[in-house]
C-alpha cells in the first residue's frame, strides 16, 4: 500500500516538472512545429494576406476547400478564387481591417459552397503589423458554422411552428365556441317559431283546415330537423373543445334499452320494419353516462330505420363478454359501399350511396357516436355489404357489477354521486355459496351477522378521528353477499382497510374450523383505453372493491402473455400471430384481417411445454381497429376471441397454464377482474 502511494507521488512530481519541459521546447524550431501543426490540422480556414490582398500563407484546410495545395495559393487573391461579388465583399472587409487597424470578429456570412450547397461561415480578421507598428497585411480565420446555424434555424422553425400550432388551437377553440354560441342563439327563435306553429296546429287560436294543418305539420317536422342539426353542432363543438363531461351512474343496461324500445318500435312499425330486441336474460349493470349512451343507441337505431326498406328487419342485440358488453344494431337495409366504410365515422362525411337516397342531417351523428362510445371506454365498428345490410357494433366496459349490485345499492350509490359525494363500495361476495353453505356449521343469517360485526369492528379500529360512518347497504343471506358503502377514502387506505377486513374474516373462518377458505381481494380495473381524464373523473367519484370468499375465482383473469397462435382464415389461409393476453375464456391478439363479428374460426395455440398445439374453435367477440402506425404496415385489428366448446382436457391444460403464468393471482392483491 505504502509503495503504491510513493510511486503515485513521484509520477505527479515528474509531470509537474514543467521547468524542464519549458527548457526542452524553448528551441524556436519547436514553436514553429507547433504552429504549423495547428495550422494544418485545424478544420478552420487560416490565411495570411499582404496589403495587396495576396495570400502569403494559407493552411491545408483553406487549400483543400479550393481543391488545391497550400503552395498553389500563394500570391493569389480572392478574386482568383471566388465569384466577383463575393471577392469584392472580402476585399472590402480586408481594406477596412488594414486601414483602420481594427479587427473584424465573428462576422457571420452565408456563402455558396463549391458543390452548390449553402453554408454559413464565421470570419475573424486581424491586422498584422511590423515591428514599427506599420500594417503589413492581415490574418484571417474562417470557420464553417453551418451546422450550428442550421440547428438554430431549426430551433427557430420549431418555435414558429409551435406558435402557429398555438394559434391554430386557439382558432379551433374559437371556432368551437362560435359554433356553440351560434347554435345556442338559434334555439330561441326556433323555439318561438315552433311554439307559434304548434298553437296553430292545436287550434288554440281558432280552427284550421286539414290542408293547412298538413302544411304546418311539415313545417314542424323541418323545425325538428333543424333542431337536430343544432344539437349535433352543439355536441361536436362541445366534444371538440373538451367541454363534454360524462356523468356516470350505475345503469341496468337492459332497462336502458327497453325504455326507448317502445318509441323505436313505433317508428319502425310506421315503415313496416320489424324491430326486435335480443337481450341477455341476466341483469347487467354497467357504469356509463346513460344519457349519452342512449344518444348513441338512438342514433344507430334511427339510422337503421332510415336506411332499411319496407318489410326489412332490424335486430338490437346485447352480448355479454368477460370484460365488455357488446351492443349490435343489425339491419337488412341498403348497406354501405366498401369504399365508404373507413370514413363512416368521420365528421361531415359525404357518402357515395348511403346518404344520397335520403340525405338528411349533416353527417355528424356517427362521429358523435364514436366520440361518446370512446369517452365511455368502449369501441365502435361497422360491417356492411351493399344491398345486404349493415351491422353496427359497440362495446362498453364491464365493471363486474352485475348481480353484485342490487337496485337498492345502485340507488344509494347514484344518490350519493348526484350529491357529488364520492363513495367507496366494498362488496363481500361468497363465491360458490351453495357449496360453501354445505360446509358451514352455522346459520347463514348468523354468519352474516358475524361478518357484519367483523367488518364493523375493523372499521371502528381503522377509523381514527372524524371518519364518516359505515353503511351496510346489502345483506343477502341467500345469495351470499354483503355490501358496505362509505364515503371515499384514499386509495391506499381503502386497500389497507380491505386487507384488514380480509385478514379478520380469514381468522373468523379458521376459528370456526372452516378451512381452505380462499379470500381474494380484487380491485376493479379499467380498460387502458379509458381516457386519462375520464378515468380520473370516474375514480374521483366511485371506487369499488370486492372481497371474495370461496374456493374458486368466479371470473377469468386476463393475463398479458405472448404465445404463438395460428388462426385459420376463410379459404384455408393461415395467419400466424401472437396473443396479447390470455384467460380461461379466450385470447386477445392482433391480426391483419378484418374478421366478421361473431365469426367462428379455427385456431391453434402453441402453449410452451405442450408437445402438441391446442386446437379449438373460437368466436370473434370484439374488434378494435388499430390505426396504421408504420408506413409499410397494413391495417391491423385487435381481436377478442372467445373459446367455444372447449374440450375438458384442453380446459384443464389452459387453466393449468394460466395458473403457472399468474403467480400473484392467488395472493391477496391479484387483479380480480379487468
Amino acid at each position: 500500500m505504502k509503495n503504491k502511494t510513493k510511486t503515485k507521488i513521484s509520477k505527479i512530481k515528474s509531470m509537474t516538472d514543467y521547468k524542464g519541459l519549458e527548457n526542452k521546447y524553448k528551441d524556436p524550431t519547436y514553436k514553429y512545429r507547433f504552429l504549423s501543426y495547428l495550422m494544418n490540422h485545424i478544420p478552420d480556414v487560416i490565411y495570411f494576406k499582404d496589403t495587396e490582398g495576396r495570400f502569403v500563407m494559407v493552411n491545408q484546410t483553406h487549400a483543400k476547400c479550393q481543391g488545391l495545395k497550400p503552395e498553389d495559393l500563394i500570391g493569389k487573391t480572392d478574386t482568383d478564387l471566388f465569384p466577383k461579388k463575393r471577392a469584392e465583399m472580402i476585399t472590402k472587409d480586408d481594406l477596412y481591417v488594414m486601414k483602420t487597424g481594427k479587427p473584424i470578429i465573428d462576422k457571420i456570412e452565408s456563402a455558396v459552397r463549391g458543390d452548390g450547397t449553402y453554408n454559413y461561415v464565421s470570419t475573424t480578421k486581424v491586422p498584422m503589423c511590423d515591428d514599427k507598428g506599420k500594417i503589413i497585411g492581415l490574418m484571417g480565420i474562417t470557420r464553417d458554422i453551418t451546422r450550428r446555424i442550421r440547428f438554430e434555424h431549426l430551433k427557430e422553425e420549431k418555435a414558429r411552428m409551435e406558435k402557429k400550432l398555438e394559434t391554430l388551437e386557439e382558432l379551433n377553440k374559437m371556432k368551437s365556441e362560435f359554433v356553440s354560441a351560434v347554435s345556442h342563439e338559434l334555439r330561441t327563435p326556433l323555439a318561438i317559431i315552433k311554439d307559434v306553429i304548434m298553437l296553430l296546429i292545436d287550434g288554440i287560436v281558432g280552427p284550421i283546415k286539414e290542408k293547412q294543418k298538413d302544411l304546418l305539420m311539415k313545417a314542424k317536422d323541418n323545425i325538428a330537423r333543424l333542431n337536430n342539426i343544432i344539437d349535433e353542432l352543439l355536441d361536436i363543438s362541445r366534444i371538440e373543445s373538451g367541454k363534454i363531461k360524462m356523468h356516470y351512474s350505475l345503469i341496468n343496461f337492459n332497462d336502458l334499452l327497453m325504455d326507448s324500445s317502445v318509441f323505436f318500435k313505433k317508428l319502425a312499425e310506421e315503415k313496416d320494419i320489424d324491430l326486435g330486441y335480443n337481450l341477455p336474460r341476466s341483469q347487467i349493470n354497467i357504469f356509463i353516462d346513460a344519457e349519452r349512451i342512449n344518444q348513441v343507441i338512438a342514433n344507430l337505431i334511427n339510422n337503421a330505420i332510415k336506411f332499411t326498406e319496407q318489410n326489412g328487419k332490424i335486430k338490437v342485440e346485447v352480448k355479454i363478454f368477460e370484460t365488455k358488453v357488446r351492443v349490435g344494431i343489425i339491419d337488412t337495409g341498403i348497406g354501405i359501399a366498401k369504399q365508404d366504410l373507413p370514413k363512416i365515422f368521420n365528421k361531415f362525411v359525404q357518402l357515395s350511396t348511403r346518404f344520397q337516397a335520403e340525405r338528411k342531417g349533416i353527417g355528424l351523428g356517427l362521429s358523435i357516436a364514436k366520440e361518446l362510445v370512446e369517452k365511455n371506454g368502449g369501441e365502435i365498428w361497422v360491417e356492411s355489404e351493399l344491398g345486404v345490410g349493415t351491422k353496427f357494433y359497440f362495446t362498453l366496459p364491464r365493471f363486474y357489477t352485475d348481480k353484485v349490485l342490487s337496485k337498492d345499492i345502485r340507488d344509494k350509490i347514484n344518490n350519493l354521486l348526484e350529491k357529488n359525494i364520492p363513495v367507496y363500495l366494498i362488496n363481500l361476495l361468497i363465491v360458490n355459496y351453495t357449496e360453501f353453505k354445505k360446509r358451514l356449521n352455522i346459520e347463514p343469517r348468523k354468519l352474516f351477522e358475524d361478518l357484519r360485526a367483523v367488518i364493523e369492528e375493523t372499521f371502528k379500529r381503522f377509523c381514527y378521528a372524524g371518519r364518516k360512518e359505515l353503511q351496510i347497504v346489502l345483506q343477502d343471506y341467500a345469495g351470499g353477499e354483503l355490501g358496505i358503502l362509505f364515503s371515499k377514502i384514499k386509495e391506499e387506505e381503502a386497500t389497507k382497510f380491505c386487507n384488514l377486513v380480509k385478514d379478520r374474516i380469514k381468522k373468523y373462518f379458521t376459528k370456526n374450523r372452516l378451512e381452505n377458505v380462499f379470500i381474494n381481494l380484487g380491485v376493479l380495473s379499467y380498460p387502458s383505453k379509458f381516457h386519462a381524464i375520464t378515468t380520473q373523473q370516474f375514480l374521483a367519484n366511485v371506487s369499488i372493491k370486492k372481497i371474495c370468499i370461496g374456493s374458486e375465482i368466479r371470473h377469468f383473469s386476463r393475463i398479458p402473455y405472448r404465445i404463438d397462435i395460428e388462426i385459420l382464415l376463410p379459404g384455408n389461409q393461415i395467419e400466424s400471430s401472437q396473443t396479447i393476453d390470455i384467460s380461461e375464456g379466450g385470447v386477445c391478439l392482433m391480426t391483419k384481417r378484418k374478421l366478421a363479428t361473431d365469426a367462428q374460426i379455427q385456431t391453434k395455440l402453441k402453449l410452451p411445454k405442450e408437445k402438441e398445439p391446442l386446437c379449438f374453435r373460437a368466436r370473434v367477440a370484439w374488434i378494435k381497429y388499430i390505426e396504421e402506425v408504420s408506413e409499410i404496415g397494413a391495417d391491423k385489428y385487435r381481436l377478442g376471441l372467445e373459446f367455444i366448446n372447449l374440450k375438458n382436457r384442453d380446459k384443464k391444460i389452459i387453466s393449468k397454464f394460466i395458473k403457472s403464468i399468474s403467480p400473484s393471482i392467488h395472493k391477496s392483491m391479484g387483479s380480480f377482474a379487468r
Binding site: 334555439r187 330561441t188 323555439a191 318561438i192 315552433k194 311554439d195 304548434m198 288554440i204 363531461k245
Partner: protein
Amino acid sequence: MNKKKILLVEDEKVLMETVTLRLEANGYEVISAYDGFKGLEKAKKEKPDLIILDLMLPKMDGYKVCGLLKADTRYNKIPIIMFTARAQESDKKMGKEMGADAYITKPFEPQALLEKISELLRNEK
C-alpha cells in the same frame, strides 16, 4: 274550482304570448313578468301556484330568482320550472342546485310542458 295561477317570467315577447295562449287554453290563469326583478316581485305579491322561469333574463337571471325564492320559507313551496335554451349538463345541475323542480329545454314539446305543470301541481296538493 279555482283556476291555478301560473307566473311566467320570459323576456321573449312572442314566446310569452304563445305560452300564455296555450296555458290559458288549458285552463290556467297566467300572470307575466318580462325580467327577473319583476318576476321576483310578482312571485312574492301574487303567490302563484307555479312559476315558469327563463334562465337568461334581464336585470336578474333565472338562477338568482330561483335561488332567492327557494331560500325563503314563505315561497319555497312554489314549484319552479326552469325554461331555457341551454341544455348543458352543468346548467341543469346548477338549476337543480338552486332548487328548481323541473327543467324544460327550448325548443320544447308543448305537451311535455303541460304534463310537467300538471304533475308538479298534483304534487303540490
